[in-house]
């Protein structure tokens, strides 16, 4: 399915662009909060996997709210089930089109895991500022 799991949040007036994507946090709040156990950890990729046959789709959406990184892309009109990054099964398409090399596929060492967490937290801080700015 060629639908991106990366959501880019934009504050256009400040030329601020914040891409958010799943970093498979160890706690997996998405899996914990799912009422039917439709989210499990994929053994090959280490990323969350949505088992569509178990997922309640538009009637639920709890995983979207639970994700601390706003990284679950859910548009029932476009695709019936939430979209969470699955590394495209191991050959991520996004990396292929990113010419500055901002997206890289790496062996998940402790050091890279830490770096990924830090980057995601930085992005989240920026995103929360933007969301606060546009709160009514």
């Amino acid at each position: 399915m060629l639908l991106s799991r990366i959501v880019v949040w934009k504050d256009k007036a400040r030329a601020t662009f914040i891409p958010m994507v799943c970093i498979s946090c160890p706690g997996m709040p998405c899996a914990r909060v799912c009422p039917t156990g439709a989210i499990v950890k994929d053994e090959k990729t280490g990323m969350p996997k949505v088992i569509e046959s178990k997922c309640l789709g538009a009637e639920c959406g709890k995983c979207v709210e639970a994700c601390p990184y706003h990284a679950i892309n859910f548009n029932p009109e476009v695709h019936a089930y939430p979209l969470i990054c699955d590394l495209c099964g191991g050959d991520p398409q996004c990396v292929k089109v990113c010419w500055p090399g901002a997206l890289r596929i790496v062996e998940l060492t402790k050091s890279f895991s830490k770096e990924r967490f830090l980057l995601a937290t930085q992005s989240l801080t920026k995103l929360n500022e933007v969301l606060k700015k546009f709160q009514r």
Binding site: L2, K10, K12, V78, V97, W99, L131, Q135
Partner: protein
């Protein structure tokens, strides 16, 4: 056959009576006119009469997303805006980046057409099938940035806006339409058209309606080919890093960089107006891209001067128009001017042309009273004067009211003699390249429906800066050595190819950098992309013929509006005052030279000697419905 890549849905909104309806179109129109620009030209023929006053309710303004927009095609997110221009009095096509076109399409519409005029300020809100005209009383008078923020607070972070600034509200003849705040459909006074309709703007919600392509697997393979072509194109990668103002030094080195109101074509301070300098000196703090683009050439810049500015730009045209053109090497001031133009909603090319004219006019002994009004002398490089003029033009205050009319009207009001250095033609200020030296540009500018301007047919390959450029010139003319400025050989052929490629590029939503400044997609690949996207079979020859159809339709539209050979011209300075290059050569575009190129071009196009498309050609292009108009024009002369 099923409709692919586009929805086939045109949203019509009439602001006079509040009526909203959807018009459907199918594969016949798509096959003939390819996408946004072509289809809207066809609509224009039906909707806008030659007698229509551009600022009256019966003018329309159309915004269209490209055929490839919303499909996984890189750098195919450009949006076209079509209307009758209050500056030129004729058909005008404007082009813009940002995300609005993509989101319009994701809300289920390919094109929106705005008719009539509201009595009170309003905006249009689009959320799928739900389309509403809402009061914009609280937004009227706001600059673009403030209006955008207010609308996002109301409609959510994933919405996007198309807006006019105070300049559009005041009907400035070069008021712009801004998309996603800093992406600008700048030229031709589209902002004034919306201002006359009391339409502050349009808001599109996040959008969830996608399109399908006819052959998904093939399309994806071809898209990845385009990605690789872009990544291997050194010119595009340089543009990504240094922005469009990376053109500055190329033009300076070939003596095609117009400074001091086209009195010189190279400058010792040119580097201060270049993309490389913005990076070197630390003005650049980020890059911005339009929808779907992997190049992302737009600049996020910052300066602590002038009260602190955090903005997007300046692009090449702005860097020169408000840089060397007015004798300005102060990059901080340039960034400030760019921001003001952004938020007031003003075309920087026309703005720079007007300010340079003021400076030259003052130098030559006119407009002495301006010193009192501005509190400073409007002399070359005086940024304080320039900043004050921008404030006045946006509000039509004092001298601003005259200058807001554009060069063609302003110079005549002051003294017809001053029109000699009003570098405009057909009501539009000349874009930032010296066409006395770049001859393909000269011909393209003379023929351009917009006026002497680059963003309709830009023959960038003429410079021969890259191998891709030289190869293209060789392919079109058979002569690699004809690449380079200062030459006249092969120019009609070069312009013809570029006009057709541009028409296709615009209509599918591609950025011109992909096909004519960088060379990631040629007409062969383009035809394959179109076939895979829509299921409509095209090859290189037929798709270029479709391009010719669009160009010819735009021409017959303008002929109906009164255009003839005499209007295929360039500003007085370009045709009468020689320019000297770095190596001491002198150039001008003489009437003889232009006429020779026009004769050959009309011959290639099968137009009459007076620039009117001939009935046989119109029949060949399946534009029979325009033949009566062509015959009328051929008879009257």
């Amino acid at each position: 056959m099923k409709l692919y890549a586009v929805h086939g849905r045109i949203l019509h909104v009439n602001l006079s009576n509040g009526k909203i309806w959807v018009e459907k179109f199918g594969n016949d129109l798509l096959s003939m006119f390819i996408g946004s620009r072509g289809i809207m030209a066809r609509l224009y023929w039906d909707l806008v009469k030659p007698s229509t006053d551009p600022l009256a309710p019966d003018n329309v303004l159309m915004v269209g997303a490209g055929t490839f927009t919303g499909t996984p095609m890189p750098s195919a997110g450009r949006t076209i805006v079509t209307f009758k221009s209050p500056a030129t009095g004729r058909y005008f096509k404007s082009s813009v980046g940002g995300d609005f076109g993509l989101k319009l399409k994701m809300n289920g519409y390919d094109i929106i057409v705005i008719h009539g005029a509201s009595e009170e300020p309003v905006y249009i809100y689009i959320e799928g099938d739900h389309v509403e005209i809402r009061s914009a009383k609280h937004l009227w008078g706001l600059d673009v940035r403030s209006a955008h923020n207010e609308l996002i607070r109301r409609h959510g972070v994933h919405a996007d806006t198309l807006l006019i600034g105070p300049a559009g509200e005041k009907l400035v003849k070069y008021a712009s339409i801004n998309v996603s705040v800093y992406n600008v459909a700048a030229r031709g006074g589209g902002g004034a058209v919306l201002g006359s309709k009391k339409l502050k703007g349009i808001v599109v919600s996040k959008g969830t309606t996608s399109v399908e392509v006819a052959h998904p697997k093939r399309y994806y393979e071809l898209a990845m080919k385009v990605v690789r072509n872009i990544m291997n194109d050194e010119a595009l990668i340089a543009t990504a890093k240094f922005g469009t103002a990376s053109a500055t030094m190329g033009l300076d080195s070939t003596s095609t960089l117009p400074v001091y109101n086209f009195r010189k074509s190279y400058w010792e301070h040119a580097y201060k107006n270049s993309g490389e300098y913005y990076v070197e000196a630390g003005y650049l703090i980020g890059r911005v891209g339009c929808a779907q683009c992997i190049v992302s050439c737009h600049r996020h810049t910052k300066t602590n001067k002038f009260g602190g500015v955090d903005t997007v730009g300046p692009e090449y045209e702005t860097s020169n128009a408000l840089g060397g053109n007015i004798g300005n090497a102060d990059t901080d001031a340039l960034i400030k001017m760019n921001d003001l133009a952004n938020i007031y909603g003003l075309d920087t090319i026309s703005l720079g042309g007007v300010i340079a004219w003021v400076m030259e006019t003052y130098e030559r002994g006119y407009l002495k009273e301006l010193v009192k009004e501005l509190g400073t002398e409007p002399v070359w490089g005086n940024v304080e004067a320039a900043l004050k003029l921008i404030e006045k033009i946006a509000r039509r205050e004092g001298i601003g009211d005259l200058l807001a009319e554009g060069l063609s009207r302003a110079c005549r009001k002051v003294d017809p003699e001053t029109c000699k250095w009003a570098v405009e033609a057909n009501g539009l200020e000349h874009s930032r390249v010296d066409t006395r030296v770049a001859k393909a540009y000269a011909l393209a500018f003379a023929l351009n429906p917009r006026g002497p301007d680059h963003l309709h047919t830009e023959t960038f390959a003429e410079f021969g800066f890259s191998e891709g450029a030289k190869k293209l010139i060789e392919r079109i003319t058979g002569h690699r050595e004809w690449a380079g400025v200062g030459k006249v050989e092969g120019r009609p052929e070069i312009v013809k190819w570029h006009e057709e490629m541009y028409a296709i590029t615009d209509s599918v939503g591609f950025c011109a950098f992909i096909t004519t400044a960088g060379f990631a997609v040629d007409e062969y690949l383009m035809s394959e992309l179109f076939t895979a996207a829509t299921g409509i079979e095209k090859d290189a020859k037929t798709i270029m013929t479709d391009g010719e159809r669009i160009v010819t339709l735009e021409r017959i539209i303008q002929v109906r509006e009164g255009r003839r050979r005499i209007h295929d011209t360039l500003p007085w300075r370009i045709m009468n005052e020689k320019i000297k290059t770095r190596d001491g050569k002198e150039y001008v575009v003489s009437a003889k030279e232009l006429n020779t190129m026009l004769d050959k071009y009309y011959e290639l196009r099968k137009w009459s000697k007076n620039g009117i498309p001939l009935p046989d050609k119109l029949k060949e292009l399946k534009l029979e419905f325009t033949i009566p108009e062509a015959l009328k024009a051929l008879q009257s002369g």
